[in-house]
């Protein structure tokens, strides 16, 4: 594929987001479960250059915040001590994968002060840190579910298109059934038949499996079309005439043909599946506390005072917009290439 800015710009954007999210432990100043009960629903920390005595400092700093006396959920800054923002800060220890362990964070401030770029939630947990960790759940649930969906869809579609006859008929009727249902209802229905009270790790796998298996039908239909037309091409018939086995034909001639369709479908499905995970977790059917997902973080907006008073709790939802835009751009470009 030829690289054009319309293709690599969104790809670069998505790549950056995914890397940052994967390395959340380094980029986030705090752990996702670290609480500060004295700072519930605090707005984003203000970053200062000019202190209370009107002196300018080159190094940005923050002030410690305490609850406003006598006022419900108001905070004021204690301007006695400055807490400069330090980069490559020694904070809580963490492990990346199983090999690398470190306590360096990209930025941080000395302890009693706290820096929360996107405010804090009900338990005083840093929303920015939780957003990064939550991306690990939400974005990768989408990616893995798409992989599952495409694997199932491609193998069933190829079988239907390549072998034809009754197998084709059976698979395609089943696909029509899945496509006939409004898919959010289908997703919920299947979720309904599965156990509700499970650990976050089990829930993660379960959500991926459910989302991935609900969506197999559309890629299967498209792949079937490609396989059906590829089967009748002259070179495939020639190869068959030379005694090529089915497996060889599938691997060598049919599968490469489906590549374009699969990539285009992936760019369409990933955002849809990310949203599916977010929706499930939002409604309490997905991955629950204490592990953050963008959906369960948004769920606190169902409370009246959060919805009205805490605009920073919208950040996990706002994060979806640039990501969806990038995927939309990618799928548009891929679609154009497929058709030309």
């Amino acid at each position: 594929m030829r690289a054009s800015p319309r293709l690599w710009l969104p790809a670069l954007c998505l790549g950056t987001v995914h890397v940052v999210v994967l390395l959340a432990a380094f980029f986030a100043p705090y752990d996702y479960s670290e609480q500060d009960r004295s700072l519930p629903f605090a707005p984003p920390t203000r970053i200062h250059f000019v202190d209370a005595q009107d002196r300018f400092h080159f190094q940005p700093f923050v002030y410690r915040r305490v609850e406003h006396a006598g006022q419900f959920r108001g905070y004021e800054e204690v301007t006695e001590t400055r807490y400069p923002i330090r980069f490559f800060f020694h904070g809580a220890a963490y492990r990346l994968g199983s090999l690398l362990s470190s306590d360096r964070h990209l930025f941080g401030v000395e302890m009693p002060a706290r820096i929360s770029l996107m405010g804090t939630d009900a338990y005083g947990r840093d929303v920015f840190s939780r957003l990064l960790y939550g991306g690990q759940i939400s974005l990768f649930a989408g990616l893995l579910a798409t992989t599952l969906s495409l694997l199932a869809g491609t193998s069933l579609g190829i079988m239907a298109g390549f072998y034809g006859t009754w197998l084709d008929a059976a698979i395609m009727r089943l696909a029509e059934l899945f496509l006939a249902l409004p898919w959010l209802y289908l997703l919920f229905a299947i979720r309904a038949f599965l156990p509700l009270h499970i650990s976050p790790a089990q829930a993660f796998l379960l959500v991926i499996a459910v989302i991935g298996l609900v969506g197999w039908a559309r890629p299967a239909r498209l792949v079937r079309g490609v396989a059906l037309s590829a089967r009748e091409r002259a070179y495939v018939r020639a190869a068959r005439g030379f005694g090529a086995s089915d497996l060889y034909l599938l691997r060598r001639h049919i599968l490469p043909q489906t590549q374009g369709v699969i990539f285009t479908q992936a760019a369409l499905l990933i955002p849809q599946y990310v949203l599916a995970e977010v929706t499930l977790s939002f409604l309490g059917l997905g991955i629950g506390e204490p592990v953050p997902s963008w959906g369960s973080m948004l769920a606190s907006l169902q409370q009246y005072h959060v919805l009205v008073g805490c605009w920073w709790m919208f950040f996990p939802g706002l994060m979806l917009i640039p990501i969806f835009m990038s995927y939309g751009q990618l799928s548009d470009v891929l679609q154009e290439r497929l058709q030309s």
């Binding site: 006939a180 249902l181 898919w183 038949f193 919805l307």
Partner: protein, 323 residues
């Protein structure tokens, strides 16, 4: 007419298939409404067993399916454990509310999408076309969930719109004009969110269909005859572009139903969405199946209506259908 008989038969088969699929999943699922009861030390396992026997949950799948089919024939659609009543009356009211919401949203979205799409196809470089394409790109990337939450926040903070339920308590008893106005004020926020959510796709399709129609030779001929611009756009080009749009009308219903599920839950509109969520949390499986069947029925009905419209609008299909 034979064409329609065929389509109806297909739709019916589809519904039967969906119900079978639901029962197969139901069978595969671990646990049921009464298995949560087993955790309660005050309920003996004999009681649970006898309850399961009473509701027929201990029977094999084909028997249960047959019983369910019989209750469908009686117009009951199975039995809700949590409400202790047949499913059909539970669904009835909710279905009416969802239908009200989605039909309003469909109507408004199309009546916005068609003029905007036609005008932006007419002058692709104009300010309207540019702002439409920018707006629809932004809206397309905004998830329905976020739209619903933002709409809710706006409605609550401004205090202009009523949120939650579909009628105010004090007006509940009132009739006539007052009641209609009250329901309309509750409808406004969810309908707006749904319209904003479905508009971008409709707009894109309308614009591209219109562009295709405007590029065809008969439009140039009409122009050469000196027919006015508005008349060409709406009287000549729009009917020609209508075909893909009518079939989209049926297809877009699926995404609208999914979006309306979310909007109903977030905004507290008493449609089938909150019922489904509640049923899932209660493990009230026949209600879940009922809601899924109902949503499929809506979808199939929408598709059939679109086919009917296409049949009326396009003489080519009419001829093909009769042959």
């Amino acid at each position: 007419m034979r064409y329609f008989g065929l389509r109806m038969g297909q739709a019916l088969l589809l519904l039967v298939g969906v119900s079978l699929l639901s029962f197969v999943f139901l069978q595969l699922a671990p646990g049921d409404f009464f298995s949560e009861m087993r955790l309660n030390p005050q309920v003996s396992s004999e009681t649970v067993d006898s309850l399961r026997q009473q509701y027929g949950l201990d029977r094999p799948l084909p028997v249960r399916y047959w019983r369910w089919l019989r209750s469908v024939a009686h117009g009951e659609l199975g039995f809700s454990f949590a409400y202790n009543s047949p499913v059909a009356p539970l669904l009835g009211v909710r279905a009416r509310n969802t239908l009200l919401l989605t039909s309003m949203a469909t109507f408004l979205a199309w009546s916005a999408a068609i003029p905007l799409g036609v005008l932006s196809a007419a002058s692709p470089q104009g300010w309207l076309a540019r702002s439409c394409s920018l707006g629809s790109a932004t809206l397309l990337a905004t998830p329905d969930l976020l739209l619903a939450l933002a709409g809710l926040m706006f409605a609550v903070r401004s205090g202009w719109l009523r949120i939650g339920g579909m009628a105010s308590a004090e007006i509940d008893a009132a009739q006539g004009w007052l009641r209609i106005r009250d329901v309309a004020s509750h409808l406004l926020a969810p309908v707006t969110v749904l319209v904003l959510g479905s508009l971008p796709i409709l707009l894109r399709h309308t614009t591209s269909a219109m562009r295709e129609a405007l590029a065809s030779p008969f439009v140039s001929a009409a122009r050469a005859h000196g027919i006015g611009r508005t008349r060409i756009l709406f009287r000549h080009a729009l009917p020609a572009a209508m075909n893909p749009l009518v079939s989209l009308m049926g297809a877009s219903l699926a995404s609208l139903l999914s979006a309306s599920l979310l909007v109903e839950v977030v905004m507290g509109w008493p449609g089938i969405g909150p019922l489904l969520l509640e049923a899932i949390l209660n493990r009230d499986l026949y209600v879940v199946i009922g809601v899924v069947m109902l949503s499929t029925f809506f979808l199939v009905a929408g598709m059939l209506t679109a086919d009917l419209l296409l049949f009326v609008a396009d003489p080519r299909i009419r001829r093909e259908g009769l042959a």
